[in-house]
Amino acid sequence: MTGGPLVLGIESSCDETGVGIVRGREVLANVIASSVDEQARYGGVVPEIAARAHLEAIRPTLERALAVAGVRIADLDAVAVTAGPGLAGALMVGVGAAKAFAITARKSLYGVNHLVGHVTADQLHAPGDEPRPVELPTVALLVSGGHTSLLLVRDLVDDVELLGETLDDAAGEAFDKTARLLGLPYPGGPSIDAAAARGRPDAIRFPRGLTAAKDRERHRFDFSFSGLKTAVARHVEHAGADGAPVAVDDVAASFREAVVDVLVAKALDACAATGVPRLLLGGGVVANRRLREVAATRANAAGVRLRIPPLDLCTDNGAMIAGLGARLVEAGVAASGAGFGVDSTLPVGQVLIR
């Protein structure tokens, strides 16, 4: 259980600088530096601020991960780095660091897909814990401030299919924007969650994007949150015009319910349509308790087995990137070489960049 390639993974696609080290599927280190506090005053991720923070954090984060794992650079088998999708300027910091690391340490380098990294998180386990059995194929729902994607994963290394994704805002972004409308702090996920706990989820019926019969033909597994955001804005405006205070808790609870409802309904519909009775959740929005509850209840009712990795492996992190690198090494896949660039819109079907 302690075998497998020793891989260091670097993640810098959004606002977390992550460095993880795995041995096979065992997580030896998972160190994350976040610029979320610097972003808070702007109510969203500012790419230039994120990129500056990555540059300052990258070396200390690498050093901490190596110290935590207690491994020597010379003992590593490979280095993996997120090549996309993500913010180009942010990705470039990680790729620059990873290339220099791999070349000076004379290790092979894998430029990998961030979204497939999220899926890999499910297979990782803490040192001393029982390995988690690999359950494939699976439908995977990845929800964060940057992405909302529904995947069918038959094989991590060479068979990941995009079923659908958001056509506008990511779900986490919708939380951030709605929080701002309601005067709640950034990031929106936790602050809306806190307000929603005191509100009624059925107080206001907000729209469920792309769930109408006419949308189901072309966008059965796609998401759209811009209509929901507009509906919340309109509601807040009307309440203000009437002179009545906005029932922030009720709006938060009803908004959250609409998001969760669409996410879970589409994910379980994908399980039904593909005949795959397994659903994996990933991404930072998984921290949302209501999402986990609704997914658990409805998956159970639908006879779908639900898997949710521990939260520190759900948010953006380097361990999942290292984990994907380890899988590629195990599968005997040739490394990326030194000449690849970042791809901010790397398609999910492309697990490795060259």
Binding site: S13, C14, D15, Y42, G43, G44, V45, V46, E48, I49, A51, R52, H54, L55, I58, R59, L62, E63, P85, G86, L87, G89, L91, M92, V93, G94, V95, G96, A97, A98, K99, A100, F101, I103, T104, A105, L109, H114, L115, S144, G145, G146, H147, S149, E165, T166, L167, D168, D169, A170, E173, D316, A338, G339, F340, G341, V342, S344, T345, L346
Partner: protein
């Protein structure tokens, strides 16, 4: 032996001896593909120098376009960690100034570089120090053309070889290195990331 990296404009990687002689230096003028070039050039330079023992990594801290600048800085810091080498940050314009002096130009002069938005990065050099290195009169500035001091203008790509020479000679003379922070000289633009077609983060 020093490894030197600069991506403040072009991409350049070099290996330089402690006495300030250049072993090998590569420069790619493409100002768009730093992340792609840095790996291949680093590999080529280290191989060409026959993988020497490196005890210092010099790197340009700008000024220059931010996105590219960071690629080289991140690479240099990570290389220094792996190699157990000291970091020797260098103001990128110092290498351009040294190139000018070696071409026979005498200070005073001003090194300028395009800062976009109809502005220039500018650094004024007034004299040479004991090691015959050009000495800055002021820290670099960013501003419109008409604010640049009326001196001979020097432009040119930053050669990591000369950047390494500056670092090596200063190090040998016991002059402390620059602050390691990137010389952005501008506050970050505040535009919230919006995901047009899914996919980031």
């Amino acid at each position: 032996m020093l490894l030197a990296i600069d991506t403040s404009g072009a991409t350049s990687v070099a290996v330089v001896r402690d006495d300030g002689t250049v072993v090998t230096s590569l420069l790619d003028e493409d100002v768009r593909a730093h992340a792609e070039h840095i790996g291949l050039m680093l590999e080529a330079v280290l191989d060409r120098a026959e993988r020497p023992a490196i005890d210092a990594v010099a790197y340009g801290v700008g000024p220059g376009p931010f996105t590219g600048l960071r690629v080289g800085m991140a690479a240099a810091r990570s290389a220094a960690l792996v190699l157990g080498a000291v970091e020797l940050p260098v103001l990128s314009h110092d290498a351009v100034a040294l190139a000018a002096v070696r071409r026979g130009l005498e200070p005073p002069f001003v090194v300028v570089a395009d800062a976009k938005r109809r502005e220039l990065f500018a650094t004024v050099y007034r004299r040479l120090d004991a090691a015959a290195l050009p000495v800055r009169e002021t820290e670099p500035t960013v501003g419109p053309d008409d604010r640049v001091p009326d001196l001979t203008r020097v432009v040119g790509a930053v050669d990591a070889g000369l950047l390494g020479v500056v670092a090596a000679l200063r190090h040998a003379a016991g002059i402390p290195p620059e602050q390691q922070e990137a010389r952005y000289l501008r506050s970050p633009d505040v535009t919230i990331a919006t995901v047009k077609k899914s996919v980031l983060g």
